[in-house]
Symmetry: C2
Subunit: 329 residues, 2 copies
């Protein structure tokens, strides 16, 4: 059934089946944050044809990705999720089934991280739009900020980078069937794109030792962008080691080293964390995390950001923000 046949209120009521009854308010949801915690709030707007598309993404996957992107923003601040609101603008041509599948994907991701949809809005719109606001909480002294980095700290990536970009390539060009990827590598890339994992699992590992301020952000806009944003906010520079980049297994063999490095640095949407912290803590963490987690370089006093290889600076490899920025089209 197309949503145009159903009233907005009726559809909203049907979608309340996806919310736990105890948080459903009337005009608003009701939550009980823990006393003394900082409340962390993040908002994302996703537009059909710009941020998701039926061509590469089933509605369940669009839902999962939307939830994962917002949970990743919370993880990047050191916060655990307490709930999420979903505002939907729906074209009348969208089916109720599509909306319910989207919600299934949202809830599937949220359940994995012990959180819930706490409310929302449904309106008609010429273009399907998903507006998500996620709420999280963190002890104020444990908030992760971009501005917390100091010189001579380790830069840690919590996992492989470039896998989501590789997965997109496989989804967009399925006819590229002569690639040398193993079925496992192929499945990993597609999953990285369709079902990214927000790294909330990293947070408890960070706080086992003594308290230290940690800098970080997520790599939703790419590993290079994350390093650049942290450096800019903290007034430091960075040296990245080309040999230490977390290039996923199989990628160089498929697309060559040059493209593999480009996707790893600039591909984006890997939703890993990029953290700056003391070397001893970073080494311990990389060991605990495994699966591509690596110290990719270190912060420096000098504010430029360089990519180094075994012979020193890679020619013309001073990183810039330009490659990682999106523009209105």
């Amino acid at each position: 059934m197309k949503v145009r046949k159903m009233g907005e209120q009726a559809l909203l009521q049907r979608l309340q089946a996806f919310c736990p009854a105890e948080v459903i308010g009337d005009d608003a949801a009701i939550l009980a944050p823990q006393p003394g915690m900082a409340l962390v709030v993040t908002t994302d707007v996703l537009v059909d044809g710009v941020h998701f598309s039926d061509r590469t993404t089933a509605p369940e996957d669009a839902g999962w990705r939307a939830a994962a992107a917002n949970l990743s923003d919370l993880a990047a601040m050191g916060a655990n999720p307490i709930g999420l609101t979903v505002g939907l603008g729906l074209s009348g041509e969208v089916t109720v089934e599509w909306v319910e599948r989207l919600y299934h994907g949202l809830v599937e991701c949220l359940q994995t991280y012990n959180t819930v949809i706490v409310g929302g809005d449904v309106v008609r719109s010429p273009v399907t739009t998903i507006a998500i606001t996620a709420l999280g909480e963190a002890p104020p002294q444990r908030l992760i900020r971009r501005s917390h980095a100091k010189p001579d700290q380790a830069i840690l990536a919590t996992g492989w980078h470039g896998a989501s970009r590789a997965g997109l390539e496989l989804l967009l060009h399925p006819e590229t069937s002569h690639h040398p990827l193993t079925p496992t590598e192929q499945a990993f890339f597609v999953q990285a794109h369709q079902r990214p994992i927000p790294r909330l699992d990293v947070l408890p590992l960070l706080w086992r030792g003594e308290a230290t301020l940690i800098a970080g952000m997520d790599s939703s806009d790419g590993l290079a962008d994350a390093v650049l944003q942290i450096c800019r906010a903290s007034g430091v520079g960075a040296e990245l080691e080309r040999s230490q980049l977390p290039i996923p297994p199989g990628l160089v063999n498929w697309v060559g080293e040059k493209v593999a490095i480009e996707w790893t640095l600039y591909g984006g949407e890997d939703f890993e964390l990029v953290l700056c912290l003391p070397f001893d803590l970073a080494e311990k963490l990389a060991g605990q995390l495994g699966k591509g987690a690596a110290i990719v370089g270190k912060t420096t006093v000098e504010p430029d950001i360089w990519l180094l290889d075994a012979n020193g600076i890679v020619p013309r490899d001073r990183l810039t923000l330009e490659q990682s920025f999106q523009h209105f089209s």
Copy 2:
């Protein structure tokens, strides 16, 4: 300058000038709710051409209305606002000036109620979309719920109803210049539509006496809809007195009694509160509020909802939900 000439990140950074520096996080905003308070969260999506239009609404007014609608949802739950996020989907043809004027209107409304924009997102979209999430807090025992009404309580409307609908009429048909309205009445109607007042001022008046559970919601979808929703959620009925309806001064003289009553019951977007509470408290409150605040009827054991006149039930005036519901088109 059109927003297409400006990167999304650049525009988002420019809009941060409208947020207080202390809440700007990196990937998320940081708030400190008061310990022990319930956190109340509400979300609205507004779409160009559906919920606002340059024809009747300047961007400042669209901003004010968007903020006011969300603050009204908080007031309807008994909550005071602590912050609001703004997710924007923008067509590339929108000017930066339009976006800044929208933000001016948002901030002007929020400042009036001592709250702030705490974060947001800006993306490109074929149709301009405003997604707002407002956060508020309330002592848990003072939450206003639709389900709290009991039989034989007063039904209080906190102000005039139908004024916003009348204002829309004046804006849509400015050529209707033979109306008998005074300039004051005319200005009141237009202002009710363009700059609605969320009734957060009512909350402190509610809690001066002893604690009592109060039922209520806002009248954004009309006075009749609010009464019906409360009755349905509480399992009660209602009798409304036609003579007590808060019809704004000048309206009957302009459009006649029949249309005036229709706009008062079904016009919507007045953003007043409709509350069910003991008669003594309601009488005191109506006196304190003035400006159209009135006890419009009472709740009943019998679950139907009737509109009564001096001779008893008005023929065919059993209220139904149908007139107040919106449908996808």
